[in-house]
Assembly symmetry: C2
Homo-oligomer: 207 residues x 2
DNA sequence: GTGTAACTTGAACGGCAGTTCAGTTTTTCG
DNA sequence: CGAAAAACTGAACTGCCGTTCAAGTTACAC
């Protein structure tokens, strides 16, 4: 009796990846088990072997996706080799292009928002990612403050909350192609506010 | 031949209202035509008489909802009888309680976000509401600046963008019940930043 | 009144897609 | 090697739900 067969985990992960791809591409309510199965190179029955119900599959897919995203992005402390300012500038640029891989992440992010609003079981997933992001940014701010790049009296956690709110708040408008808030304007707005708060030049944050 | 029969418009509106209620309650992908019909006191065939397809019904329902919301909230210029400061304080309080009627509005708002991300035809609906909101807040700021309540060198539109980003950015976290960002914290954060920007006391904005 | 157009309905069709199940292949381990 | 468990499949079942349609009802115009 295999305690946990290795093949099982691989297949399971493949199914989850396929589900994530389809969620990002078509929207969560358009995801069909048959499609997930095909994309994962499996049968629909196999999908049900791992996930008893469609709802469970979708929930697990979102969890899987965001746990991995959190690991990838915030698994290790921010890079302040060069400077905290450039690190922060990079962080803004990583979050607000909305083209390429970021678009997929944003779509999944909004998908999680809506899902979590309805399903309390999903809220901790979102909250955990926010917490990780918050700590990561706070560490960046703290490093910059200690290095003398930023004002020394800043509250790193408060700045992190501000930064996240600005990124989400402007980012969603940019996603909606609001003509008054395209990506450039969004970045400028975020950079401007953070620069004032940190006592650095806004141009250095705009990237 | 009645050019536009009155009964038709009433029925149509009733169906849209019913659809909005169900979207808010269950989520857009859980909305069934039969349920909409029942709630509107109609038959499924009648729903199809007004909306040829389910997709169209849902899209029209969202449009209907947000056109009305925009009219109700921002149809007339902000009330600055008392003071612009109290008007702004009220605006924050109207947006960030997340209990009672506001919860429904927030849910619909997130629902629109996700839908509009996928359906380009819906994006102008969101953009228009943002534009109205923006103008409305800008008018409030401008009034306050002219009355000498706020700093005279403020950029009303920029402040409006900032305010909206902060409200959306903190609001969504509050909706997700992020323990680090409940409604009180969110309000305090928004009030704090705007107060600094406007040169007023934060306590006056927190309500 | 009476005809016409709009409004409304009950009932059935049709198909999609989640789920189940009985059976086959593969893997694991003593 | 051999048996048992896990991994996996094809195919059918089933229920839901969007959609259609032909017929009934109301309201308005002349």
């Amino acid at each position: 009796m295999a305690a946990v067969a290795p093949a099982a985990e691989i297949t399971r992960a493949r199914i989850l990846e396929a589900a994530c791809d389809l969620i990002a591409a078509d929207g969560i309510d358009e995801v069909r088990i048959a499609r997930v199965a095909t994309r994962a190179g499996a049968s629909t029955a196999l999908v049900h072997h791992y996930f008893s119900t469609r709802e469970e599959l979708l929930e697990q897919a979102l969890i899987h996706s965001f746990e991995r995203a959190g690991e990838d992005r915030f698994g290790e402390p921010p890079d302040v080799e060069q400077s905290a300012t450039s690190g922060l500038s990079q962080a803004i640029a990583d979050c607000l292009p909305l083209a390429g891989p970021q678009e997929r992440e944003w779509v999944l992010w909004v998908e999680l928002w809506l899902r979590a609003v309805r399903d309390p079981g999903l809220r901790p997933v979102a909250a955990r990612l926010y917490e990780r992001y918050r700590k990561w940014i706070a560490a960046l701010i703290r490093a910059g403050a200690e290095a003398g790049e930023f004002r020394s009296d800043v509250d790193p956690e408060a700045i992190a909350d501000l930064a996240m709110a600005l990124l989400d708040g402007t980012g969603i408008r940019a996603m909606l192609e609001d003509p008054a808030m395209d990506v450039q304007v969004a970045r400028a707005l975020v950079a401007e506010r953070l620069a004032v708060e940190l006592g650095v030049d806004a141009a250095a944050l705009r990237g």
